[in-house]
């Protein structure tokens, strides 16, 4: 493949219709049907393994998921007919698989059923998806609301400080019996703001200051906003004890800064600030310090005679799965205890689906991210490019932070596995991300000019 991005312009005489991309809505529909069938199969497999019978709700579950997916598909057909055909099926498959895993874990905790609530939230998520696809005709409209977005994001981030902390983290608010994690919604709003801000100011930001060894350092006057974001991240961390979200915000900002300006100096600066922040917080904040200790010595609590901690149980779960897994419904990931359905949901996937299933899930996320980046590559407007890159990066960073955390690769930080984990705010947010990706990919493929195949 040639470096298409470096070609100056497409041949001017190429008629647009000649290179019009196929819409592939039929493929999307077929993939959705496949995704729904896979999820129903998983649901039945759980019931067969546990009780020897197909669970009574299988038909209803399949029909519910199918109807939701079909409505989303119709919305896409109606208003984003050129959109990437892979995005929606991946969303449906991951969400459906998450429901299966949560339903499976519900069997171990009869007093605490999470699957029905998760199904309600999934419905809300798909509804939001449909609303976004129907109402947002052009992603560039969002550019106008950049500062509204950042203001809303800051409000959402600060709201939980007014509420009591839950399990050591101050990231939830309670409204009418529902726990909501406003930080989840803030992610999308911040991505919109970052994209808009950087698209508007990228030339100023890209003005390189001094060159130091191989790094191109940014000039001093553009450091302000960067430091502001860094402070917000640290603030989130210190006030809400939410290491994962702060890491995500900061990582997102650094990636978008780099994509907007191409200055390697930003990366160096970002890593430096992150290191300073992490060190300071790790030193000051016992909560974070413990997480690092657990990561370095996951079995320390066993040696101390206190039994395995959550991370050790999570590693046991993954190990028990081996290459092919125990089969759905046959593992013991419930031993993880608290948060087995949310932060540690991946351990259940790892144990019951094995390395094979886990790799498939990782690759699904990889594919989702790749489709996002590809839409970004083929768009023409900087805002759209940055928005698509930002949304895809959110998914990528989030998957890495939590999957790496529960797998012992990096210190564990509380965060929801996109689509899979129990958590209404998360699943709604992820449907919003997919909706926005559908929108930008629709634009990208509609304005395809032959230079960059989306």
């Amino acid at each position: 493949m040639t470096k298409a991005g470096t070609t100056v312009a497409p041949p001017a005489d190429t008629p647009a219709s000649a290179v019009r991309l196929p819409r592939r809505r039929g493929i999307e529909l077929a993939l959705i049907v496949l995704a729904v069938l896979l999820c129903v199969y998983g649901y039945c497999a759980v019931g067969l393994a546990r009780h020897g019978t197909v669970p009574p709700g299988a038909a209803g579950y399949g029909a519910g998921l199918g109807v939701l997916a079909l409505l989303a598909h119709l919305a896409v057909r109606l208003r984003a007919p050129d959109a990437d055909p892979l995005l929606l099926p991946i969303g449906v498959l991951l969400n459906g698989l998450g429901l299966v895993l949560i339903y499976r874990l519900d069997l171990e905790t009869p007093g605490d059923r999470a699957a029905p609530t998760q199904l309600v939230w999934s419905t809300v998520g798909v509804a939001l998806f449909i609303v976004v696809v129907l109402a947002l005709r052009d992603h560039r409209v969002l550019q106008r609301y950049a500062y509204v977005c950042v203001a809303a994001a800051l409000v959402l981030l600060t709201l939980p400080i007014l509420f009591p902390s839950v399990n050591g983290a101050r990231i939830w608010i309670r409204v009418a019996g529902f726990s909501i994690q406003p930080g989840e919604f803030a992610k999308v709003l911040l991505a919109v703001f970052f994209a808009a801000y950087l698209a508007a100011n990228r030339n100023a930001l890209a003005f390189a200051g001094r060159r130091f060894w191989k790094l191109q350092l940014p000039t001093g006057r553009v450091l302000g906003p960067v430091l502001a974001i860094w402070l917000i991240s640290v603030g989130v961390l210190v006030l809400e004890r939410d290491l994962g979200t702060s890491l995500l915000f900061f990582g997102l900002f650094v990636v978008l800064l780099y994509v907007a300006t191409g200055l390697t100096g930003w990366i160096a600066l970002g890593l430096l600030l992150a290191a300073v922040g992490a060190f300071a917080v790790g030193w000051l904040e016992p909560h974070v310090h413990t997480r690092v200790e657990d990561w370095l010595h996951p079995f320390a609590s066993i040696e101390a005679g206190l039994g395995p901690n959550q991370l050790a149980q999570s590693l046991f779960s993954f190990a028990a799965g081996g290459v092919l897994g125990t089969g759905l419904g046959l593992g013991h990931s419930v031993l993880i205890g608290f948060a087995a359905k949310s932060d540690f949901i991946l351990a259940t996937a790892g144990e019951e689906l094995g390395l094979a299933g886990l790799s498939a899930i990782f690759l699904l996320y990889g594919l989702l991210v790749e489709r996002g980046y590809r839409a970004g590559l083929s768009l023409r407007d900087p805002f759209g490019r940055l928005l698509a890159t930002g949304l895809a990066s959110i998914v990528a960073l989030q998957v890495f932070v939590i999957a790496g955390g529960v797998g012992g690769l990096i210190p564990l930080t509380g965060m929801a596995m996109p689509f899979l984990a129990q958590g209404g705010s998360s699943v709604v947010t992820n449907w919003a991300i997919v909706a926005l990706l559908i929108r930008v990919s629709d634009s990208a493929r509609r304005q395809y000019d032959g230079t960059e195949a989306p």
Binding site: G5, A319, G322, S359, A396, V399
Partner: protein, 494 residues
Amino acid sequence: MSTHGPGMARYIRHAACFCALLLVALLVNATRVQVFEAAAHDENPANRREVIARYGLRRGDILVDGRPVTGSRDTGEQLRYERTYANGPLFAPVTGFASQEYGTTLLEHTEDGVLSGSDPLLTPFALWNDFTRRRNPGGDVVTTIDGAAQQAAFRGLAGRKGAVAAVEPTTGRILALVSSPSYDPEVLSGNDPGVGRSWARLNADREKPMLNRAVRQTYPPGSTFKVVTAAAALDAGVVTDLDAPTDSPAPYRLPGTRTSLTNESDGCEDLSLREAFRWSCNTVFAKLGVDVGVGDMTATAHAFGFNDDALRIPFSVARSTFDPTVDKAQLALSSIGQYNTRATPLQMAMVSAAVANGGQLRTPYLVERTTTSRGTTVATAGPRPGRQVMYPSTAAQLRELMTQVVTEGTGTNAAIPGATVGGKTGTAQHGIGNAGTPYAWFVSWAQGDRDVEPKVAVAVVVEDAAADRGEITGGGVAAPIARAVMEAVLRSKE
């Protein structure tokens, strides 16, 4: 037309490459945990999965007379199946316990592979099972125990401290293994707080109900050891005629000491072996032991199974001892079952069995065969190789001596109409200055009049036989129990 610089696409590619790196890192990490470190994690003792799997299946059963004496109860808990025992105290010395908290003992321990289903012999497709993660249902263990004999022995002891071991002389099959007082292993099965309390209570009990006295406790065998001494004397040629005088004084001064050994009864001086055996004369056998010498005495004791700590039936049996490093005075005492001579009840049953079986000792065993849950045989014990302990002529002479003990000696309480019974009583003093209540012993064998070979050999010991001292205890307390066991075996063989 293009509003963006050519660079941005490149940077997006760089960002995408970065994400690809993250993806690779996750995949490599998953492989590390799930493949390379999986075995170590699986074997971590803090990992409950192995335990959950172990108790996730119904445990195989231990069978007596073709009927299970164990069972499994589905609790629906995380450790799903708990052990139950149909007649716990009766069979506890055979089965042991299978506790979720405190592990396993005896047959539950040595046969755990079959019972829990982890034995690879249970399936012809072990590799396929590894692949599908299927666990075999637990297999069954068929014992050699004769339920009626076991019952008779347990009833005979009637809660008194003691033990009974019975074997089939021609094969080595263990027909009864009873220890009293006993306990119900079921109280240790689950993992509720009551189990911990039962464990503490059983361990603190001064009567030691969890001690398997039939195989794990050694006693001074006292006069029953005279069977061994007589065998040694006959084999060594020290005595060639059962009815010839043995040239032994009474009381007998222990060589090299001023201590004199006396007898319970008078008239032992210079008695023949036949009479001395019938009346259990200490002086005669002490002198015979010294005449045989420590080398031959030790060799004969060895042949009977003394000083052997490798015996497994399949669980281990405590080592019965005959001290080979003794002077003549100690040898004299050792030869009448005192000093450092100690024996398990099973060991004394083996002594009796060897005599009954023409001098050939069959290694005792408790497991007839193991089967899969469907009854297919996995392994059979089969008769063990025997070893010749004494000349067949010596055995014949000893049979004669032992028979006389029952017909007209100290063991008349063991006589069974319609059967030839041989026996030997014993009373073993113990404690400092012999202050403890003596142990009452009786070893015997029986052969029905229509049988071509002996059917059963028994050893009975009763610890606190609160009766008068003397031969009366062995014959009075232990012999009726032995008779009940022998009768049960003879009856069930008909």
